[in-house]
């Protein structure tokens, strides 16, 4: 049976992460320093050291996974990365003692949150999206969808030949000004509000409902509408496919640079704290 990284060895790392988080929480609750809880008490130093080491270890995963040739699969590593990364949220937050300010210390914490949040996003995306991608593709690749769209375009233009100029112009516009992909925001939204094909379909539907065409022209029109229905559906699926692909990719564009910045800020944080000890 396939075992996902989330359920790896009966949730081993979820249990480890949960235990670490609860232990930290229990220590924090029982900790009553003379001053407000902060990163400079014995518990603060302890949580900070563990968190910093954990950050370096988690970042090492990025290096480790790029190394090919290992015998063991990385599923265990990924499982530990995800769960211990989530435990870092507890450890790091308790290390702050909930003292925040406009300083390098809170900058490091903010970057840590960004890395963890993008990581959680990635985990959710990798858990949920592949099934949606498969469902949406219906055994057709994006390449096939694009090819079919262009073939539908050709057929639609040919079908529109015998209809009047306005219809022709509309169909031609739907084919020439076809919009798939586009800006990042467009791709992530998975929609195209100014879709010419959809506009053309509504126009033709309106035309058909008027019933002003003869039987022969009417039959052609209904075929044309069916062609464009198919094209519109393919476009929607292609856009959704692009959206899913983008969602599967985009978090890494935050997760990785933010990790680099976190490590830099973390080092500065440690230097600053001990420079002015």
């Amino acid at each position: 049976m396939h075992e996902s990284f989330l359920t790896y060895r009966g949730f081993l790392f979820l249990k480890v992460a949960g235990a670490v988080g609860l232990l930290a929480l229990a220590l924090y609750m029982g900790h009553a320093p003379m001053e407000a809880p902060n990163g400079g008490t014995w518990l603060g130093y302890g949580l900070g050291t563990v968190s910093a080491l954990l950050i370096f270890w988690l970042a090492w995963f990025g290096v480790r996974k790029r190394r090919y040739g290992g015998v063991k699969p990385l599923r265990g590593w990924l499982s530990a990365h995800v769960y211990l990364g989530s435990a870092l949220l507890v450890l790091g937050t308790l290390h702050t003692g909930f003292q925040f300010g406009w300083n390098v210390h809170t900058l490091a914490y903010g970057l840590m949150l960004l890395v963890i949040a993008s990581g959680i996003f990635g985990t959710v995306a990798y858990t949920r999206l592949p099934r949606l991608v498969t469902e949406n593709r219906r055994r057709q690749t994006l390449e096939a969808m694009v090819a079919e769209i262009s073939s539908l375009d050709r057929e639609a233009r040919q079908a529109a030949m015998s209809l009047d100029d306005t219809v022709n112009a509309r169909v031609a516009e739907a084919s020439e000004r076809l919009q798939l992909g586009g800006s990042l925001w467009r791709i992530l939204s998975g929609r195209e509000p100014a879709c010419r094909t959809a506009a053309c379909v509504s126009y033709l539907e309106g035309l058909a409902s008027k019933g002003s065409l003869g039987p022969e022209e009417g039959a052609i029109l209904s075929t044309l509408v069916r062609l464009l229905y198919r094209k519109r559906e393919l476009l929607q699926r292609a856009r959704l496919d692009l959206r899913y692909q983008a969602l599967l990719d985009i978090w890494l564009h935050i997760h990785i640079p933010a990790t680099v910045l976190l490590i830099v800020a973390l080092i500065v944080h440690v230097v600053a704290v001990f420079f002015f000890w």
Binding site: P33, A36, N38, Q99, E143, A144, G181, I187, F275
Partner: protein, 547 residues
């Protein structure tokens, strides 16, 4: 139906490769599916796209569902197949020809619009590649890392090491980004001068930095008993944690020595004290144990101390709920009628005879002359006042005689009759005065409240001694307890004797106060809430406090 199918594969330079085959089936299914009789391997063709059916020289093509076919260039879902008919299915063209001998149907199939998979893949790959919309990951990481290193490391380090740079960049406060929390209010004047405390890089704040300002602070404990010289100020006084300078005040800190104080200072008279809620002994107020001395002693409330004050004052008689009958009607007294807080709110001002008692208790001594009162105080002044009144009475009678006998003598001359009368007057005044003194100092007069005594020298009032402050070792602030009624702590209503020490026991305080870690519903109160930190006369700067 017997059909011949020629599949034409067009090669370069227009050469065609034709593969022929015959079929003998009821219908010809056309589609991408491998099981279709006419298998068209192209993604633009549906799995089950269309079907050719018919017989007896009439054959029809019909599209499945909403699949599209073009019959002679016209989109249609059904079409009749005759020789010369062209049917488009996706990128394929089906041409119907004259069926050869032995066949019912002749179909030539050609891929007229080849699927350029490579181009399509390039196109879709480009669409998929979201990184073309974003700045490079490496670029972002390196550029922002450089910003962080410059702003949060390089600039502060340079500013910390170079006073010149610090001065030049003062307006930007480059070191503020290192500040881990708000500076205590008292240190705000030096908040922008990190070096005032952080003198050396990578070295913890040293006591010398504190003593630069705080040398006059007194030793926290007697250096002969407790050696604090090895401690860092910072271990108890934490900075960067808010408006108030964090100071160690937990019960455990004090109890560390005081729970076993005899072990620390063998000659001490202090009792062992632990946490307020559990380890604090009953209060030991300082009371006057013998007014004659006077002698003072700290007596535990458990031992029911009796104060010897030389004063008789029953609180219960004054605080009768039904009120007191006075010359001006029935008056109900409250605590505030006699007890006024001092301006600090800590204690009560002393009760004065004239201001408090005097409103009801007059000091008259002669029923016929109620306006004549003696001063509250020295017996000699009392005697002079009384004698003065009777002398006036005597003199007034002499004036009557003078008026009857006109003056015929030189002033200063005293006739024998007059001398006899004066002797008589003096004796009368003396007698009346002695009588009045006895009344005044007796049980109905001063003796009502005071202990009086007649000695050969005259009447005396024993001096009154009351504790000015019962709890000398603690600070109790009445002003901070005004929401609590007096009677909740002081049992004045039922106290019939001034010997009663009407202090509440520690149990009363514990009703509200719960130590440094109070249970729910109780006020947190540390040792320092009531007790001052012991300070020794020797200044910190003078001993070996500097590391």
């Amino acid at each position: 139906m017997k059909a011949r199918i020629d599949q034409i594969v067009r090669k370069r330079r227009g050469l065609a490769d034709v593969s022929e085959r015959g079929l003998d089936v009821a219908s010809i299914r056309i589609g991408r599916s491998g099981s279709a009789e006419l298998h068209l391997a192209d993604p633009r063709v549906r799995l089950d796209h269309a079907v050719i059916e018919g017989g007896d020289g009439r054959y029809e093509i019909r599209a499945f569902g909403d699949a599209i076919i073009l019959v002679d260039g016209q989109p249609n879902s059904v079409g009749v197949l005759r020789p010369g008919t062209r049917v488009s299915i996706g990128p394929y063209e089906l041409r119907i020809g004259e069926p050869p001998e032995g066949f019912d149907l002749m179909i030539s199939v050609e891929l007229v619009q080849p699927f350029d998979a490579e181009t399509a893949a390039e196109l879709t790959d480009e669409m998929r590649e979201i990184s073309r919309h974003l700045p490079g990951r490496r670029l972002v990481a390196w550029a922002l890392s450089a910003v962080i290193l410059a702003m949060f490391l390089a600039l502060p380090v340079i500013a910390a090491l170079s006073p010149g740079v610090r001065e030049a960049t003062k307006a930007f406060r480059p070191l503020a980004v290192w500040n881990s929390g708000p500076i205590a209010n008292v240190h705000r004047p030096i908040a922008d001068n990190c070096a005032a405390c952080h003198a050396k890089a990578f070295v913890q704040v040293e006591n010398t930095q504190c003593l630069a300002c705080h040398a006059a602070t007194r030793q926290h404990a007697d250096p002969r008993i407790v050696d604090l010289s090895g401690l860092r100020c910072e271990s108890c006084h934490k900075e960067h944690n808010g408006q108030k300078l964090a100071t160690r005040t937990d019960d455990g800190f004090c109890a560390g020595c005081h729970a076993n104080i005899a072990g620390v200072a063998p000659k001490t008279t202090l009792a062992a004290v632990g946490a307020f809620a559990t380890g604090h002994p009953e209060f030991r107020p300082t009371v006057v144990t013998d007014a004659a001395g006077p002698a003072f002693a700290r007596v535990s409330l458990d031992a029911k101390p009796a104060e010897s004050s030389n004063l008789r004052f029953p609180h219960d008689k004054h605080l009768k709920r039904e009120g007191l009958r006075t010359a001006t009607g029935v008056v109900t007294l409250t605590c505030a009628n006699c007890h006024t807080p001092d301006p600090s709110g800590m204690t009560m001002l002393p009760v004065r005879m004239e201001a408090q008692c005097g409103t009801c208790h007059t000091l008259g001594f002669e029923r016929r002359f109620p306006d004549w009162t003696v001063p509250h105080g020295e017996p000699d002044r009392v005697r002079r006042t009384i004698a003065g009144l009777y002398s006036q009475i005597a003199l007034a009678e002499r004036r009557e005689i003078d008026r009857a006998q006109p003056m015929r003598q030189r002033p200063g001359d005293v006739t024998p009759e007059e001398r006899i009368q004066r002797e008589g007057d003096r004796a009368w005044v003396e007698a009346r005065t002695e009588e009045a003194m006895a009344t005044t100092f007796g049980a109905g007069g001063c003796g009502f409240c005071h202990v009086t005594e007649k000695t050969p020298e005259g009447w005396t009032v024993k001096p009154v001694h009351v504790a000015r402050l019962f709890m000398e070792k603690a600070r109790f602030n009445h002003a901070r307890h005004t929401t609590t009624g007096c009677g909740e702590c002081h049992a004045a209503q039922t106290s019939s004797s001034s010997a009663d020490v009407m202090l509440p026991g520690i149990a009363t305080c514990r009703g509200c106060h719960g130590g440094d870690k109070p249970e729910v519903g109780k006020v947190a109160s540390t040792c320092l809430s009531c007790h001052a930190f012991h300070t020794h006369a020797v200044h910190i700067g003078s001993a070996e406090m500097t590391k």
